[in-house]
């Protein structure tokens, strides 16, 4: 199971977390990954920046996720995390 926590704190909210959450929900359901990817929110992880939303994937913190670079993020980080799990 891949745990994905999207920051919904003030700063990330204004950087687009509602849209990022919607994209995550769409990708998860379109790829039938409801049982493999668990989405949840989180409050400030202390990594606020000016470029985008903070997303934690299995305890690894990624900053700067935006709707524009979401697809890349999904393909690299989430798919990689899923593969790593299957490999175990």
């Amino acid at each position: 199971m891949v745990m994905v926590q999207i920051c919904v704190g003030s700063s990330c909210h204004l950087k687009g977390s509602p849209e990022v959450v919607r994209l995550f929900e769409r990708y998860v359901s379109e790829n039938g990954l409801d049982d493999e990817v668990i989405l949840s929110g989180s409050f400030c992880s202390g990594k606020c920046n000016r470029s985008g939303v903070t997303v934690t994937v299995n305890d690894k913190v990624h900053t700067g996720v935006t709707p524009a670079n979401f697809k890349d993020f999904w393909n690299t980080e989430i798919i990689a995390a899923l593969r790593a799990e299957k490999g175990d």
Partner: protein, 390 residues
């Protein structure tokens, strides 16, 4: 001292085409637990009526709150009110609700429709004594208060609603009493009850009121303390002290802010579970901590609460939004505006480095302004507010 308190709300609509209302409601507090509410209806409508009713309600409420008798008030009004040049009389009717120590209410009524009293959700016919003051017939009653009692004072514009349109003789007092009986169990605020009643009058008038119509509702309720934590303390070492004070308070507890929520969770030895459900609006999702009644994001949510609060004391147009919505701001509104009577703010003055970004519409000053403005609005709603800074 008992644990009752009163919630007072009123609303007016103006005679069609008039910019001023000829009815006026004044609320003057008399110490901690007593209050004088006066609803006055000036002769006619427009400017003249507005001056008459404003003078009448102001004079009576101020004099009563200072402990003077009804007789003194009526004499003063008779000697003070300007005389209408067309009709040759100085005239304004009034209803006084004098709440004494949140224990009993003294009703003094002169020529307005008689106050409707709803007790245990049914119309209650209270005893009245007729007295004569300077040739004026005045009804006086003293009633012991009970939880959930509802007193509805009206100007004659309410029972006149719908004359010749919906009803031949208007919306009779007993029909209004029936109407109030039906909505009484819903547990709304006084402001909401008065709004519902006046909106119904406006509907009966076909949106074109033939008279100024005002309803003033006094609702007796139990005190309900509410505590709200907003922001981490400026000095980290104060966190435990702040949490200890906050969680030791009686009543519900609301925690606003991400960092604040983690501090509260650490203090309680629990975890923060943040949600990702957006309720259609632009307010961040709420979270959960065991032992806390509500956990929300900070500044964005509170800005929204302030927006609703400002509207609620003015036109009350966004009522339906916050009263049915599921986002954090709506939930805070319901707890603060409807449930709470006494609100304790615990405000932390730490500066969030993430917010000191010129690109963001949130910063430390905005946060402090929100607290100031919001407590001002809540005071106007009749809440008792205490703000502590850390």
């Amino acid at each position: 001292m008992n644990d009752l308190c009163v919630d007072i709300g009123y609303k007016s609509i103006n005679h069609e085409g008039e910019q001023l209302c000829g009815d006026h409601v004044d609320v003057v507090e008399q110490g901690e637990n007593s209050v004088v509410v006066v609803l006055a209806d000036g002769l006619g409508s427009g400017v003249k009526a507005s001056i008459l009713s404003t003078l009448t309600s102001r004079i009576i409420s101020t004099m009563m709150a200072e402990g003077l008798t009804v007789e003194d008030c009526v004499e003063t009004i008779a000697a003070t009110l300007p005389i209408c040049s067309e009709r040759g009389v100085a005239y304004s009717t009034f209803t006084i609700l004098h709440i004494v120590e949140n224990r009993e209410v003294e009703l003094i009524q002169y020529d307005n429709p008689l106050v409707i009293m709803i007790r245990d959700d049914v119309n209650f016919d209270y005893p009245k004594t007729e007295i004569n003051v300077g040739g004026k017939k005045i009804f006086k009653s003293v009633i012991k208060l009970k939880e959930n009692d509802l007193f509805v004072a009206m100007s004659d514009g309410c029972p006149h609603a719908g004359i010749g349109k919906e009803y031949n003789f208007g919306w009779k007092r007993e029909n209004i009493a029936d109407f109030m009986e039906t909505i009484s169990p819903a547990g709304y605020t006084a402001k909401t009850y008065s709004t519902i009643l006046v909106d119904e009058c406006n509907r009966l008038y076909g949106g074109k009121p033939g008279d100024d119509a005002t309803a003033c509702v006094v609702k007796v309720r139990k005190r309900m303390p509410m505590n709200i934590l907003f922001g981490p303390p400026s000095n980290r070492d104060d966190a435990n002290r702040m949490m200890a004070l906050f969680f030791s308070k009686e009543g519900k507890h609301i925690v606003c802010g991400g960092t604040t929520a983690s501090i509260a969770a650490r203090y309680l030895g629990k975890s923060v579970k943040a949600g990702i459900t957006y309720d259609g609006g632009d307010v961040p999702p709420v979270a959960q901590i065991d032992g806390v009644d509500l956990v929300t994001e900070g500044v964005i949510t509170m800005s929204k609460v302030l927006e609703y609060a400002k509207d609620s004391i003015a036109e009350n147009k966004l009522y339906e939004k916050w009263s049915y919505g599921h986002d954090g701001a709506c939930m805070i509104c319901r707890l603060l505006f409807e449930e709470a009577t006494d609100i304790n703010f615990f405000v932390g003055r730490a500066v969030n480095p993430a917010h000191q970004n010129p690109d963001l519409p949130i910063n430390f000053n905005i946060k402090m302004n929100i607290v100031g403005e919001l407590s001002e609005c809540l005071k106007q709603m009749g809440k008792k507010i205490k703000v502590s800074y850390f």
